[in-house]
């Protein structure tokens, strides 16, 4: 959810009850005022009526008057002893032709020793209309407020969040491996200034960590070289020693073997480090089909021995501009991978289209998400002769040339696809 819609939602949630309570209070207060006015009017009418009744004789014969307000005069035998009674009632209105609320004022009056009971009835219809009107006004106010709030906050947020969006944009394009510094747009908002400051600090720190880690990997893999060469050569010399019995010979053989494995591992790591340092900048056009065919020659014997059936389908003959070494490493690692993790009497299916290279082979199901195997040292099995760098190298090379690589396993069918 966007921050804007969230804040709007909160605004709305807090404004609505205020408006509702306010509306309700306005209704109560208004009704109180109107009621009060109504009663005052009724009492004023009572006064006026008594005055007029006393003054104009001909009025005295009129016992019933219906001119908006109904006035009914009834002569009674005895004193009802009523001061003034106010009450609400519902009566049929012959003009509006429906039942309507009325308020009536009842009082008794003595005139010429006779007692009269007078009832003044007043229609409450205007009150109802007024209250309805007030309700409508409140509703219109709510709608107007909400709409303008939405518009205003949208406009404000667009302006206010610009530096934030710029920062996000810069971060998205930032790559720690590239030496270029990151720049954020200047902003006057303190919070964003702080954000940019913290980000730059953090990036500087991660850059430093990254560089020192890279240097460590490079130095370690370089420095490992000499002791490794010594171990290897001493082990090889020991093997020539005729006094060793079979058991010792095998032990030395194992030392030798382990040193070799370490040396291959080092080669892989050096390769990756060099790629990180962009040391493979020289490029040349390379025909992919030709590269695959010539690389496969090295594996002919192996493929034959493992009884793997190889199918090559070149639907197209794309030429890519790549570094020679990297292209070779990419293709040989792909082939190596397909052979190594194949089944006995399995198959390899190489499909080359204009914009993609697909290599399929049957194999053991994976215990993990195939994409994870692009990480260094992620091995499918405890096969000790596997360096765990093959797919990492493949992935790295694809990254360098912005090629999309995907690794999927479908019912024991492994499929690596590279889109160039």
């Amino acid at each position: 959810m966007k921050l804007l819609s969230l804040t709007n939602r909160y605004y709305l949630a807090s404004i609505l009850p205020i408006l509702l309570v306010g509306g309700f209070l306005a209704y109560i207060i208004l009704r109180g005022i109107i009621n009060h006015e109504f009663n005052e009017k009724l009492f004023a009418e009572k006064k006026q009526f008594i005055h007029e009744w006393h003054t104009y004789k001909n009025l005295r014969e009129t016992l019933y008057l219906n001119v908006g307000d109904k006035i009914e005069v009834k002569a009674v035998e005895y004193d009802p002893e009523i001061g003034s009674i106010l009450s609400d009632t519902i009566m049929y209105d012959s003009f509006e032709k429906k039942e309507l609320p009325y308020r009536l004022l009842k009082f008794s009056h003595k005139f010429d020793d006779r007692f009269y009971l007078v009832t003044i009835t007043k229609s409450m219809l205007p009150t109802e209309d007024l209250i309805q009107g007030v309700g409508q006004i409140i509703l219109i106010l709510i709608a107007g407020l909400v709409l303008s709030l939405g518009f205003v906050s949208r406009a404000i947020s667009k302006k206010i969040w610009t530096p934030f969006n710029n920062t996000i944009f810069s971060l998205k394009n930032y790559q720690i491996a590239t030496p270029a510094n990151i720049n954020f747009d200047k902003t006057t908002i303190d919070e964003f200034k702080e954000l940019n400051r913290v980000l730059i600090h953090m990036i500087d720190k991660s850059r430093k960590d990254y560089v020192s880690l890279k240097e460590f990997t490079e130095n370690a893999s370089h420095e490992i070289q000499t002791p490794l060469a010594i171990i290897k050569s001493k082990a090889e010399l020991l093997l020539q020693n005729g006094n060793l019995d079979q058991e010792n010979l095998e032990d030395v053989g194992k030392i030798y073997e382990a040193a070799n494995r370490l040396s291959r591992l080092k080669q892989g790591l050096t390769m990756l480090a060099k790629m990180d340092n962009n040391q493979f900048e020289e490029v040349e056009p390379i025909e992919v089909a030709e590269l695959i065919t010539s690389s496969l020659e090295n594996y002919e014997e192996l493929i034959a021995m493992k009884e793997i059936s190889l199918t090559k389908t070149y639907n197209s003959s794309p030429t890519l501009v790549l570094n020679n070494t990297l292209a070779y490493v990419l293709v040989t690692n792909l082939i190596n991978n397909a052979i190594k993790h194949n089944l006995k009497q399995g198959s390899i299916n190489i499909i080359l289209n204009n914009d993609e290279l697909i290599i399929e082979n049957p194999g053991q199901p994976l215990s993990d998400d195939p994409e994870n195997y692009f990480n260094r040292f992620k091995k499918g099995s405890a096969q000790s002769d596997s360096s765990g760098l093959g797919l990492a190298l493949i992935k790295k090379i694809c990254d360098i040339y912005d090629m999309r690589i995907s690794y999927t396993v479908n019912e024991a069918k492994h499929r690596i696809a590279i889109q160039f």
């Binding site: 001493k234 090889e236 010399l237 030798y256 050096t270």
Partner: protein, 225 residues
């Protein structure tokens, strides 16, 4: 045969000297650029092994000096740098071969032998091993004078064995010798076995001796008995 080893790492130099001495070479060691410069002016060597990274200068300069005095010595660079560019630079200034550290001593030995052979006889020499004769120029092998037909890999394998007679040759070094370092180790061992079986059969068919001895868990040995 005199060999100069220019290598600052004492233990490694010692291993190389031991291995090559057993082959009958006379080895000398220089542990710095200065010492190497002195030695190449005082003596002549059939082969010089040069490490590029020396504490007081580059091995490249040693090679340049050798070329300036029109030295006839064969030059093999032994370097920790494994990039194609480094190899090209090394070979361009006149080195004959380039071996990346860490290497197999048997591989180094085979390269030294091949280099000396090429230098001394312009490649027209024969390699004799009892009844087996190898003519490297023609890539031809005869047994009791009769030529046998070998595949490229079988030929390389035989030459590698003959260059390292009576040595325990590890399967790793054979694999790298035959396929370079891009081949998967575990797979290549099976191959070596298959190729050896064929090679042995072909030699035996021509009444040659069975010289290939398996050292279980380690590799093979080509023995003269």
């Amino acid at each position: 045969m005199n060999i100069l080893i220019v290598e600052d790492e004492h233990d490694l130099a010692e291993s190389i000297i031991k291995y090559l001495s057993q082959e009958g070479y006379h080895c000398e060691w220089a542990n710095s650029f200065r010492e190497a410069s002195e030695k190449i002016h005082l003596h002549t060597y059939d082969c010089i092994l040069v490490d590029i990274n020396l504490p007081d200068g580059s091995g490249i300069k040693v090679i340049e000096r050798l070329k300036r005095v029109k030295s006839e010595s064969g030059i093999i660079i032994i370097s920790a740098r494994d990039s194609v560019e480094d190899k090209i630079i090394g070979l361009e200034i006149g080195a004959d071969d380039y071996l990346t550290k860490p290497f197999h001593l048997s591989e180094l030995n085979a390269r030294v032998k091949s280099l000396i052979r090429r230098r001394n006889f312009d490649g027209n020499n024969e390699i004799l091993f009892k009844e087996i004769t190898i003519l490297p120029q023609e890539r031809l092998v005869t047994i009791h004078g009769e030529p046998i037909k070998l595949t490229k890999k079988e030929y390389d394998l035989l030459l590698y064995f003959v260059s390292n007679p009576n040595r325990v040759i590890t399967k790793e070094s054979i694999a790298e010798h035959l396929w370079g370092d891009h081949m998967d180790m575990a797979d290549s061992f099976d191959f070596i076995y298959a190729h050896l079986k064929n090679l042995r059969k072909k030699i035996l068919e021509k009444k040659g001796g069975d010289y290939i001895q398996t050292i279980y868990g380690v590799g093979y040995k080509f023995t003269r008995f």
